[in-house]
């Protein structure tokens, strides 16, 4: 029996015990670029020939398929599934039907306790829970017709990040840094910020799955006061930097001798590169996470809450060329007491996020930074049966709202619509895959062509689906 192609899977297959370097790949296979897509080829820049030449590293900036307006992304994940009919999708029919059956749904209509008023030149109605964000509607494209597959938090949360329900697949951020690299080689190109707890689904939400680990998101707990705690081991408590530099140079020399005996094993070379990045991270990342370096005026824009801190860090990262930052802004699972609880959740994010948009604009970064806000699914227009005296709303995957701003987005847009009661997307439905396709589009990628060969198949973020929502782009 001769070996078939599947046995000799590509260099990026999961079969590889470690990351292959470009050099090793070339040495080992000679040719073979044919089996990799364009982006696969781009991904070949895994390691430079010269260990100290970081520019050629795996995260070196790369060109997308076509020039994209957006150069980087902040995804604010409103985890918990915010209610659309209480935020961005007003439904007067719920008032007229209050307490009555909603056709096609179990349960009775629960009108929103919140008032919607029109804002901006576009006159888009926004719920009173977002007084500050409302001032930015002219920057936003609000998609009111989102839908997803499963109304369960963990699955849907991971699905929003990976487009996959069960099998481990790379996250949106991983695909983005795989395709675009990062503009700063001294900080991870893909960072996930969380105030404390892990989100449902844990590290699946920033996994690179079958993409090389270098495209995995770095999760940082911003609950900590200092960067030394946010990023573990970011500082050496014994050695000053110059002494550590000397030590690291000796490590490299030892490693070179060690590798000679093994004729350049890929994993060993990858280590060398990782050490160098770690060394540089010590200074750059420390600076990036230190919001005390911001002016009082800037800090005031964001406020002092946990979300304010996260978003300000996110902006500092964007400025430094980090490609993709996900900000976890959880707490939207309002089964009961929606009036109080949603108000509270909205309050946590309203001012800081509005502050971010203002700040990005002031710095001329908004045009090139795509900001996305949204949850993993939406909520029902009906009263949650668990709600009792202070009702809330149950899970609903069939309709919800998400908005995008900056990065080539046509502001003041409302796209798609749910039905009369807000429970189901009926006009121009936008699936999670479509949102993914659109985010990649904003960055200059044809989502069907950003592929990676693994286990004999070309995989992409949008699986076999996805349609770019063109009308939301300017």
């Amino acid at each position: 029996m001769t070996m078939n192609n599947r046995q000799l899977a590509g260099p990026f297959s999961m079969n590889t015990p470690s990351i292959f370097t470009r050099r090793q790949f070339l040495e080992n296979t000679g040719t073979g670029f044919g089996m990799l897509g364009l982006a696969g080829l781009a991904g070949m820049g895994l390691l430079g020939n010269d260990a100290h030449a970081a520019a050629a590293g795996p995260l070196a900036p790369k060109q997308p398929h076509f020039p994209g307006k957006a150069k980087r992304v902040i995804h604010v994940f409103a985890q918990g599934a915010p209610s659309q009919v209480d935020t961005w999708d007003p439904k007067p029919a719920l008032v007229t039907h209050a307490g009555k059956d909603v056709p096609g749904m179990k349960g009775v209509a629960l009108p929103s306790p919140f008032k919607f008023t029109k804002h901006g030149r576009s006159g888009i109605p926004v719920s009173e829970v977002f007084p500050e964000l409302a001032k930015h509607v002219d920057e936003m494209a609000i998609i009111r017709s989102m839908h997803t597959n499963i109304p369960a938090h963990e699955i849907a949360t991971v699905f929003m990040n990976t487009g996959s329900l069960r099998i481990a697949k790379p996250t949106l951020g991983s695909w983005v840094v795989y395709g675009l690299g990062s503009e700063n080689q001294n900080i991870p190109g893909y960072i996930s910020l969380r105030p404390g707890r892990m989100p449902p689904g844990g590290s699946q939400n920033w996994q690179s799955a079958f993409l090389p680990g270098t495209f995995q998101g770095t999760s940082i707990n911003t609950d900590f006061a200092r960067v030394e705690q946010m990023i573990q081991n970011i500082r050496n408590p014994y050695l000053p930097l110059d002494e550590q530099r000397r030590q690291l140079d000796l490590v490299h020399k030892f490693n070179e001798l060690h590798a000679q005996n093994l004729q350049k094993d890929a994993a060993l070379e990858a280590r060398l590169e990782a050490h160098e990045m770690a060394f540089k991270m010590q200074t750059e990342a420390t600076d990036a996470f230190d919001i005390s370096r911001e002016t009082a005026a800037t800090r005031a824009l964001y406020g002092t809450s946990a979300q304010g801190k996260q978003l300000l860090i996110a902006r500092r990262l964007m400025e430094r060329g980090v490609r993709f930052v996900q900000v976890w802004a959880s707490g939207w699972d309002h089964h009961q007491d929606i009036e109080d609880r949603l108000t509270k959740s909205a309050e946590e994010i309203d001012r800081p996020l509005a502050g971010l948009l203002t700040d990005l604009k002031q710095r001329g970064l908004l045009d090139s930074t795509l900001v996305v806000w949204g949850g993993e699914f939406g909520r029902k227009p009906t009263r949650d049966k668990n709600g009792n005296a202070n009702p809330g709303r149950d899970h609903n995957n069939k309709g919800f709202s998400t908005w995008l701003a900056g990065g080539g987005i046509k502001g003041g847009t409302v796209y798609g619509a749910t039905d009369e009661f807000g429970g189901q997307s009926v006009e121009n439905p936008v699936h999670v895959h479509d949102l993914h396709a659109s985010i990649l589009h904003a960055l200059g990628f044809d989502h069907e062509k950003l592929t990676y060969r693994y286990n004999g198949r070309d995989f992409r973020l949008t699986d076999n689906f996805g349609k770019v929502v063109k009308p939301i782009f300017a």
Binding site: M1, M3, N4, R6, Q7, L8, A9, M14, N15, P17, S18, Q24, N28, N149, R166, P188, R197, M198, P200, G202, S203, S208, G213, T214, Q216, A225, Q229, I231, Q232, N233, I234, R235, N236, P237, Y238, L239, P240, E243, Q244, R246, L248, L250, V251, F254, L257, H258, A259, L262, Q263, K264, D265, A267, L268, A274, H275, A278, M281, Q282, N455, K467
Partner: protein
């Protein structure tokens, strides 16, 4: 554009409600079909959508009426009488941009579309005989011919030309394949490399310099075999290999998501399962017995009560806010992945897309687990760590329980009085007591160990199929029994209690084609860094074919014949020439087989986190030999010296360092960890006091301080850390480094923290997340030059890679 349908595929039951009753067809209808419709379908669709297609696309066949009605992955293709709702018509009309048939612009003519539309409108009369349907292979049927579902075939090792290379029968298989592909195995690894490899492989620790020298100087032919025997007898073997199984068993000391205001999220006795697993490996418990104990120890008559702890396999999983169906799903998922290498949980909402596992089979297993429950009182299986403290423990427990009962009674009263606010606050109080009880049970020296068992419910029952996985849309009830693909269509139904014991026996049956294959593949994986099948938890149709199918069967048969002994497998594998090869590269073979699937060399492997940390502690002379007991925090100072396998694992707050080193996700069975190299690992090696302190310990060791010259000192370090003397060039580099080391100022601590460390610690402790606590940054005294050099050796690759 209906994606819900796309994702939920078709739900195929024998009595599919989608198949409409046959209606008699008139002659005119039949003629219309034959003259207009059949040619369109045959010319444009059959190539991809018929029983004769090479590969049926999208699961849809259109060569029978049944096929059209049943449809494919996007749902029924036909709604008789309603063309607008028929996907077939929508597709040929090119209504949706993502469903256009025939594809690639080969759109039918307007007349053809009109004919099809008319045909559907008249109810899609179809004279084609159902006979054609029999030819169509359901993916489920096709799947049954997959290699992994066929019986294990006993294999005779193939004959090979270079028979002198062969040490064990596995070598025949490896060499024959290499030979076939024009490759040769590497020369044997040198003795130092080999003994280091063997030590890390079996006990997860390096050999001491004395052990290395003894082996290097032992020229007897069985020297290596004796090393293997010694290691198999070491209790540290179970700590190494038990951890691999704990990855598969998604082990954690906490429940994951629970209603924290109602219950505590700790498993105070999860560690009894961990200890059971370690002991099972040390005792070389026959694997078939290991299976049965983990699924049904409650039903076995065993004089050893500690075997009850085996059932933690089922019960240490996530608790999903007490959603019973999710808990059952986790148990089905873990059981089938762990023992069978089959992803049965994929069939929860629809028939398995690839493997022959219908939804009905999933709910057969569902019934078994739904008929089992965790008893209110867990059985005590041993004595407390400190027996003298037992009475005191009981007293403390009684006090807490009494307080709990009082709160609960008051809460009931408050509820009755409709005082919701009071009831709520009492519930919190009661939950606080629950946490105190859990803490006491977990940490008190007088707390006796208990087993996290399950028992059969008094009235076991079968489960209905949940259509699309939704509990409130129930389909037919299916009997409790094993999977059809593994036990045939005439499989018996289970009647012995819940059926858990029968399930366990069906899994452990030597005739089960998957069980032994999955087990030996896992063992192979951990010796070579890659399995014969690369996906140890999925041997199904989506897995890549085995690199050496005959060898896999040989190993499986050998395993069963040798009493399902894992240690026998280690002997078989480690005494082989294939295992003992060097890891040197060969550019020609690397080109032919870059993944080293055929094993022309030994793989260079990065140590997993546990082996790395444990070996650093061992090198520093600090590793504790203490076994068993409640989990310990590995990451806060003063650092625990216990082996990493005893680290406390909170699935909701996994220590970040573990994540950075690709530790197994405790929410799912993990047969193979990722193997990434990221800067955060470098930061740990370069900066973590946990590592640096071990370097400091290393130069405090007596061997080091007793060495007279700098060269001697360096030699001691190299032998301890790398199991070899330093080479000339390394000596030169090191001496130069020492000579150039100048005194430097200590690092200045960061300015006072915004949040006070104490408050933060308190805050985090309140969250009951001790492992997630991160020490504030503290500047420390500068390192001495030797400390710095020792640390350098730990950072360098040789310390954390096995050749």
């Amino acid at each position: 554009m209906n994606r819900t349908l796309t994702l939920f595929a078709v739900w195929t039951l024998a009595a599919s409600p989608l198949v409409a009753a046959e209606q008699p067809i008139t002659k005119a209808q039949s003629e219309f079909f034959e003259s207009k419709i059949r040619p369109i379908l045959a010319d444009n669709c059959y190539k991809c959508h018929s029983a004769t297609a090479d590969k049926v696309k999208g699961g849809l066949v259109v060569d029978t009426r049944e096929g059209l009605l049943k449809g494919g992955e996007t749902g029924p293709a036909l709604v008789p009488g309603n063309p607008d709702k028929s996907l077939l018509i929508r597709a040929v009309r090119y209504d949706d941009s993502d469903l256009q048939m025939p594809p690639k612009g080969k759109k039918l003519t307007a007349q053809q579309i009109a004919d099809l539309t008319a045909w559907v409108k008249m109810g899609a009369p179809d004279p084609r005989k159902a006979a054609a349907a029999a030819k169509y292979k359901d993916p489920r049927e096709a799947g049954k011919s997959h290699w992994a579902f066929k019986p294990v075939q006993k294999q005779t090792p193939p004959s090979v030309k270079e028979s002198s290379w062969v040490k064990m029968p596995v070598d025949n298989f490896i060499l024959a394949k290499l030979d076939e592909n024009g490759m040769k195995p590497n020369a044997p690894a040198d003795r130092r490399t080999l003994i280091r490899r063997a030590y890390f492989d079996l006990i997860g620790l390096p050999p001491t310099p004395a052990q290395v020298e003894e082996f290097v100087n032992d020229t007897s032919s069985d020297a290596f075999a004796r090393v293997v025997e010694t290691l198999l007898k070491s209790p540290q073997y179970g700590e190494r290999w038990g951890r691999y199984w704990l990855d598969v068993a998604r082990y954690s000391d906490t429940k994951g998501s629970v209603k924290k205001k109602q219950e505590d999220d700790k498993y105070p006795y999860a560690w009894t399962y961990r200890d059971y697993v370690i002991k099972a490996f040390n005792d070389d418990k026959p694997y078939n017995r290991f299976i049965v104990e983990q699924l049904a120890a409650d039903r076995l008559a065993s004089p050893d009560k500690t075997t009850l702890a085996a059932m933690g396999f089922l019960t240490v999983g996530e608790r999903f806010m007490n959603n019973q169906n999710d808990i059952i799903n986790d148990r089905i998922d873990t059981t089938t992945k762990a023992f069978l290498g089959l992803t049965v949980a994929c069939a929860r909402c629809h028939d398995h897309k690839f493997d022959p596992v219908p939804t009905a089979d999933y709910y057969s297993l569902h019934g078994i687990f739904a008929s089992s429950t965790i008893p209110g009182e867990l059985p005590v299986i041993g004595k407390p760590a400190n027996e003298a403290k037992y009475a005191e423990f009981q007293q403390k427990l009684a006090t807490l329980k009494k307080a709990d009962a009082t709160y609960e009674a008051q809460m009931k009263a408050a509820k009755k009085a409709k005082d919701r606010k009071k009831a709520k606050s009492l519930q919190y109080k009661s939950a606080e007591i629950d946490s105190k009880i859990a803490d006491l049970e977990l940490k008190d020296a007088g707390s006796p160990p208990k087993a996290m068992i399950m028992v059969d419910k008094p009235r076991p029952s079968d489960s209905p199929i949940f259509i699309r996985g939704e509990a409130d849309s129930k389909g037919p009830v299916v009997p409790r029994r094993f999977l059809e693909v593994l036990s045939g269509p005439a499989r018996p139904t289970f009647h012995n209690g819940s059926g858990r014991l029968e399930l366990a026996q069906a899994i452990a049956d030597p005739k089960n084609p998957l069980t032994a294959r999955a087990a030996v593949n896992r063992i192979w994986l951990h010796h070579f860094g890659e399995g014969i099948v690369t996906t140890p938890d999925d041997l199904g149709i989506m897995s890549d074919p085995p690199s050496h199918p005959e060898l896999l069967d040989f190993l499986a048969a050998y395993f069963i014949e040798h009493g399902w002994s894992t240690k026998e497998m280690h002997r078989l594998i480690m005494n082989s020439a294939a295992y003992q090869q060097s890891s040197a590269n060969n550019s020609k073979f690397a080109q032919l087989d870059p993944m080293n699937r055929l094993l022309w060399r030994a793989n260079v492997r990065r140590l997993d986190f546990e082996s790395m940390r444990d070996s650093f502690l061992f090198i520093g002379g600090k590793l504790s030999a203490q076994m068993g007991g409640a989990g310990t925090n590995l990451f806060s100072e003063p650092y625990s010296t216990r082996r990493s396998v005893y680290g406390y694992l909170d699935r909701e707050a996994m220590p970040e360092t573990l994540n950075h080193f690709d530790f197994a996700n405790p929410d799912m069975a993990t047969g193979k960890r990722y193997n990434t190299i990221v800067p955060q690992q470098s930061l740990f090696l370069m900066n973590s006091p946990l590592v640096v302190e071990q370097a400091k310990n290393l130069v405090r060791r007596a061997e080091f301080t007793a060495a007279k010259t700098d060269e001697d000192k360096l030699d001691v370090l190299y032998r301890i850390v790398y199991a070899r003397p330093a080479r000339a060039e390394e000596v030169k580099l090191s001496m130069a480094y020492l000579a150039e080391t100048k005194p430097y100022r200590s690092v200045t601590a960061a300015p006072q923290q915004v949040t006070n460390a104490k408050t933060q610690k308190k805050k985090q402790n309140n969250k009951k997340r001790p492992e997630a606590y991160v020490e504030p940054f503290k500047a420390r005294a500068p390192l001495g030059s030797w400390e710095e050099l020792a640390h350098t050796l730990l950072i360098a690759n040789e310390a954390s890679f096995i050749n």
